[in-house]
């Protein structure tokens, strides 16, 4: 899977850009503020429909303009597709694939798949559990685009249930209804996370050992605030039923605390290194290696499952690593994958590829 060409109009610092990246490794070099990350952000937006920096859509529109445009030609398995996205200051975002308006924006997911690694992802192990939950959910969307709808429904239903609890009303029928809705979507969210964890397990160990050049063992498991591990290997319906009974059991507590105290919103993947929780036991370097290994494992998992390696985006990653890890990471990068690497210091990028100099525009060196 790759981006054949990319056209930007009034996107962040780009008023007009027409770029044809190479199928292999592309190294984007330029001073701070040149627009390197902006370019990766545009590519990632095509795949996920949101900013990988979690910026709101308005922030993507170039200052003092009316709308940002992202257009791209994507090819995978000899199939070529055209994606067009317009993000206006006023009104709704418009997305088209092959000139067809999409009925649901989620229909765009899967046309392009990316795995992105940003400097802050190096702290994935140290950060709050929400980041690790999001990681699993993001991988799930790349594997099964329908996961996007279930995640959105789960978030919405949970917010409704919490708003009801917060109101202080006690009405069994109304709470039953929100329980059912939360469990229906939440069961699917948890099932997919469990499947992602299962698929990642063997790949994570390999990736970790490659980057660390060690024989360390790793583990990844899904830690749940409700006994979801009982349902691993089960169907979505079993997850949903399990979650429904968990909600019933905590109903008294939930009424009292006026918030939903159990469910996927409280779960997290736990990462282990040589049998210890990496979060509390790992050194800074080990934690960063683990973070890199997780992204590489995610890339391999998606590549295997979809038969087409996702585009890999590495933003400023090498400059954050010591020389040994940096070259080990370079060696562990997947072949056969379109890769976009950015750096302000090209001498620190230990991979071979086509170098582009970025400074407002883009020039092949």
């Amino acid at each position: 899977m790759r981006v054949d060409w990319l056209v930007l109009g009034d996107f962040r610092s780009y008023h007009s850009l027409d770029w044809k990246p190479e199928p292999g490794v592309n190294i984007l070099v330029g001073p701070n503020g040149a627009g390197k990350t902006n370019l990766l952000e545009a590519v990632s937006y095509l795949a996920t429909l949101r900013s990988f920096r979690r910026a709101p859509d308005e922030a993507l529109i170039a200052d003092d303009t009316d709308a940002a445009i992202i257009r791209a030609g994507i090819s995978s398995d000899d199939r070529e597709r055209l994606i067009e996205i317009e993000i206006p200051v006023k009104g709704a975002r418009r997305t088209q694939v092959d000139k067809q308006r999409l009925r649901r924006t989620s229909d765009l997911l899967g046309v392009l798949r990316v795995v992105a690694f940003l400097p802050e992802d190096l702290d994935l192990i140290k950060r709050g559990p929400a980041y690790r939950r999001d990681l699993l959910d993001e991988i799930a969307i790349q594997l099964w685009p329908a996961a996007y709808v279930d995640q959105a429904e789960f978030d919405r239903a949970l917010r409704q249930r919490n708003a009801f609890l917060k109101s202080g009303h006690r009405d069994g029928t109304t709470l039953d209804v929100w329980d059912a809705r939360v469990a229906q979507a939440g069961g699917k969210v948890a099932l997919r996370r469990a499947r992602v964890v299962e698929g990642m397990e063997p790949l994570l160990g390999d990736a970790y050992r490659e980057i660390s050049s060690s024989d360390a063992t790793t583990g990844i498991s899904y830690q749940s605030s409700w006994p979801s591990e009982r349902f691993v290997g089960g169907s979505a319906a079993e997850f949903t039923d399990g979650m429904l009974s968990a909600l019933r059991e905590t109903r008294g507590t939930d009424y009292e605390r006026r918030v939903t105290t159990t469910g996927p919103q409280r779960d997290e993947p736990v990462l282990e290194l040589d049998g210890h929780d990496a979060r509390v036991h790992g050194s800074q370097g080990e934690q960063r290696t683990m973070a890199l290994a997780i992204k590489l494992a995610a890339h391999r998992l998606i590549a295997e499952a979809t038969d087409s390696p996702p585009v890999l985006l590495l933003d400023d990653v090498f400059s954050e690593l010591d020389p040994k890890r940096s070259s080990a990471l370079a060696g562990a990068l997947p072949g056969d994958t379109q890769t976009l690497v950015t750096s302000a210091r090209p001498d620190e990028v230990p991979v071979v590829g086509v170098v582009w100099s970025v400074d407002g525009g883009l020039l092949r060196e």
Partner: protein, 197 residues
């Protein structure tokens, strides 16, 4: 910006849904240039509508008298009632020409985030109808959203014990959208393939 009365009209028009500043300006200047009688007809139509149209006391559809045209039509099947969120949804279901029963307009869907519980919807009115009329089945055609689904489920819980069948439009409707969004064929199929809740 413009002469007082012109600017006032522009401001009013711009408050309408889907009308931006520019369109409001165009409409106002258009009304300024057409025959005075043509412009006046519009203002009379608005005044008449507000004066003569109210809510149907039975189903809460819009109505020019006490009851709406659908409730007054004796050929319609009073045993089946289609429950919708808004009066506009009735038009959508009617377009399919697949439904010959009556309607009930809830006035929204359950949404604690917006402070809407069963008491803020016309649930009590629906209960009165089920108890007082010959209703055998409720077809819930709330929007295919999280809130619409929850509302359908709530209706099933509350009304099945009263001995009526409660069904929901079959899937196939785009999730997260409005009923408006579904074309007639999809909606017709959804009506035919409704699922008992």
């Amino acid at each position: 910006m413009f002469e007082g009365p012109v600017q006032r009209l522009i401001d009013e028009l711009a408050r309408l849904p889907g009308v931006g500043r520019k369109t409001a300006q165009r409409l106002a200047f258009h009304l300024l240039t057409v025959e005075e009688a043509d412009a006046r007809r519009l203002s009379v139509a608005i005044a008449d509508m507000r004066e003569q149209v109210g809510q149907c006391r039975r189903c809460f559809n819009v109505a020019a008298g006490e009851e709406c045209a659908i409730c007054r039509d004796v050929k319609r099947d009073a045993d089946v009632v289609c429950v919708v969120e808004r009066p506009q949804d009735i038009v959508v279901v009617e377009r399919t020409q697949e439904f010959r029963g009556l309607y009930h307009v809830l006035g929204g869907s359950l949404s604690p985030i917006n402070g809407v519980g069963p008491d803020q919807l016309r649930m009590a009115e629906l209960k009165n109808r089920v108890e007082g009329e010959s209703i055998q089945e409720l077809i819930v055609a709330t929007n295919p959203t999280v809130e619409g689904d929850a509302t359908a489920m709530y209706i099933a819980r509350e009304f099945k014990p009263l001995g009526v069948r409660v069904s929901r439009l079959a899937s196939g409707l785009p999730v997260g959208g409005d009923l408006d969004y579904a074309d007639e064929i999809t909606l017709g199929r959804a009506l035919a393939g409704r699922m008992e809740l």
